[in-house]
Symmetry: C2
Subunit: 276 residues, 2 copies
C-alpha cells in the first residue's frame, strides 16, 4: 500500500491537516520522509500556484492520489445540499473545478464536509444532495476522475456518518466512478466494528485516511492498525493510505511517526502473509 | 460494581439520555431490569417533582448515585466559565441548588458541559472556571457532596477534554470532595489508552459512564469492556457504572442490552479473579 500525507495548499482553518503553511516545503519533507504521495486539501483550485505544484511533484516524484474539498465548505460555506439554490450551484461549480484540477494530477476528488448538513428537512436535504451529484458524476465521467464520499462523524455532519449509510447512497446513485473513502478516526466513533465496515465497503473502498483514535499519528492512540491493514490486505485493497492527522507535537514528528508506524506494520503483515 | 441508568427528569434536548419523557416509568423500567440506581439529569432542581421522585425511589429501592447538570448549559446557557459575570453567578447558584438536591439523595454532582467553553482567551476562561469552584467546593463540603468533573470530547468542549488535563485541574484546586468521572465514549475519542488513563485517575475516579464507542449500549460498539472492567477491579474501584447511552433502537432494548452485557462481563471477571 502506498502512503500519502495530507497537506493543505493554503492557510486553512481545518486543523486536521499536517504541515500547514509552506506547503511546498511540507511536500518536500513528506518526500524525504519516504511518503509516496501527498493528498492536497484545496479550497479553490483557481487559487493554487500550479507552477509551484508542478515543481514540487517533478522535483520529488510524489504522486497526488486525492484532492480534498472540505475547505470550500469551511472557508466559503459552499454546500452540495444547501437550500439556497445559488449557493448550491456555486458548490457544484467549485467541485467541478476540483474535478478538472484532479484530472490533471491523476487524482480522485474527496467529498467530505462539502456535502453539507441537514437543513430543516432530512428528505429534502438528501434530495438536493443527490441532485447535485448529477452534474458532478457527468464531469467525473468526462474527466476520468473518481468521486469519493467520506463518512464523517456525527459531530461534523448529520449526512452520511457511517459506512453503511454511505454505501446505500452510492448504490442508489449506481454510478461507475463513485467510491468510498474510509477514515479510521471517524470510523472509531461511528462504526460498531471498523474491520467489518471496511469489508462491507468491498470494491467501493477506493481511499483510506489513516489517523489514530484521537486524530494523532498512527500508534499514538488506541486503534489496532495491524488489524486494519490485515483487513485491507485480505480485501485486496489497492488504494492509498493517506495520513490526515493533527500536526502534534509538531508537523514533522507526526509525519515521521506515521510513516514509521505504518511501514513497520505493513512489513510485518507482509512477512506473516509470506509465511502463511 | 453497581449499575445505574441515566434518566432525565424532564424533557430535554440532550440526546444521550436513555428513556426521555415519562421519567418515573423509565425509573420503574430500570428497576425491573435489575439496575441498582438511576443517575438523574436535572436542568433545575426547583422544577423536579420531589414527591414523584420520592415515590419512585421508595417504590423501587433504587439509589441515585449522581445528578447531572448539563441541561442547565444546554437549555439555559449557564456556564461556570462565562465571561458575563451575571450569567456565571447564575450558573454557580444553579449548581449550588444541584448540590443541595444531591445531598438529600446521597448523590454526587456531575460537572460536565456546564463548565462552558473557552471564550476568547483560554487563560482567562480557566481562571473564571477555577474561581467558580470556590463557592461550589464550599457548598459541597458543607453538604457532604462530591463534585465530579467529567472530561468531555473535543467536539463538545475545549476545556478539559482528557483525563490528564482534568486531573491537573483537580490537583491544582487540591480539594477533598473533588473527583473525576470517566466516560468511556469520550475516552474512546480522547485517550491514547483508556485503561492507562483510568489507572492514572486512581482514587480520584469516583464515577464511570459506560457507553460504547458509538454511544450505543455496551456491546453494540467496539470498546473492550472486559478490559475496562478488569482495570477498574484491579484499581479496587468502588463506584458505579452508569449507562449514558443513546436510546436506540428503543430505550428499553438499549437498557436491557446494557445490563445484560455488563452483568455478564462482571460475572466473568469475578470468576476469573476467583480462579486466579
Amino acid at each position: 500500500m502506498k502512503l500519502a500525507l495530507v497537506i493543505s495548499v493554503e492557510e486553512t482553518g481545518f486543523d486536521a491537516v499536517a504541515m500547514r503553511g509552506g506547503w511546498v516545503d511540507a511536500g518536500r519533507s513528506a518526500a524525504s520522509l519516504g511518503y509516496d504521495g501527498v493528498e492536497l486539501a484545496v479550497r479553490d483550485p483557481a487559487r493554487v500556484d500550479l507552477d509551484a505544484l508542478a515543481g514540487l511533484l517533478r522535483g520529488t516524484g510524489l504522486s497526488v492520489p486525492a484532492v480534498g474539498t472540505g475547505q470550500a465548505f469551511l472557508a466559503d460555506g459552499l454546500s452540495l445540499s444547501h437550500p439556497d439554490e445559488g449557493l448550491r450551484a456555486r458548490a457544484i461549480e467549485r467541485v467541478e473545478a476540483h474535478i478538472r484540477f484532479a484530472a490533471r494530477l491523476g487524482a480522485a476528488v474527496i467529498l467530505g464536509l462539502i456535502r453539507g448538513r441537514v437543513a430543516h428537512d432530512r428528505q429534502a436535504t438528501e434530495a438536493r444532495l443527490a441532485a447535485s451529484f448529477d452534474p458532478l458524476l457527468r464531469a467525473a465521467e468526462r474527466e476520468g476522475v473518481w468521486l469519493l464520499i467520506e463518512p464523517i462523524n456525527r459531530y461534523e455532519t448529520d449526512l452520511m456518518t457511517t459506512v453503511g449509510e454511505t454505501l446505500e447512497f452510492i448504490q442508489d446513485l449506481g454510478a461507475q466512478r463513485l467510491g468510498l473513502l474510509a477514515d479510521t478516526f471517524h470510523m472509531n466513533i461511528e462504526e460498531a466494528s471498523i474491520e467489518t465496515s471496511l469489508r462491507a465497503a468491498g470494491p467501493r473502498l477506493r481511499h483510506v485516511h489513516a489517523a489514530d483514535s484521537n486524530r494523532h499519528a498512527p500508534g499514538w492512540g488506541h486503534l489496532d492498525f495491524a488489524a486494519v491493514l490485515a483487513t485491507l490486505r485480505a480485501m485486496r485493497y489497492r488504494g492509498w493510505l493517506s495520513a490526515e492527522i493533527l500536526p502534534r507535537p509538531d508537523p514533522l514528528a507526526a509525519a515521521q511517526q506515521t510513516i514509521t508506524h505504518l511501514r513497520s506494520l505493513l512489513n510485518t503483515t507482509l512477512i506473516k502473509e509470506g509465511m502463511a
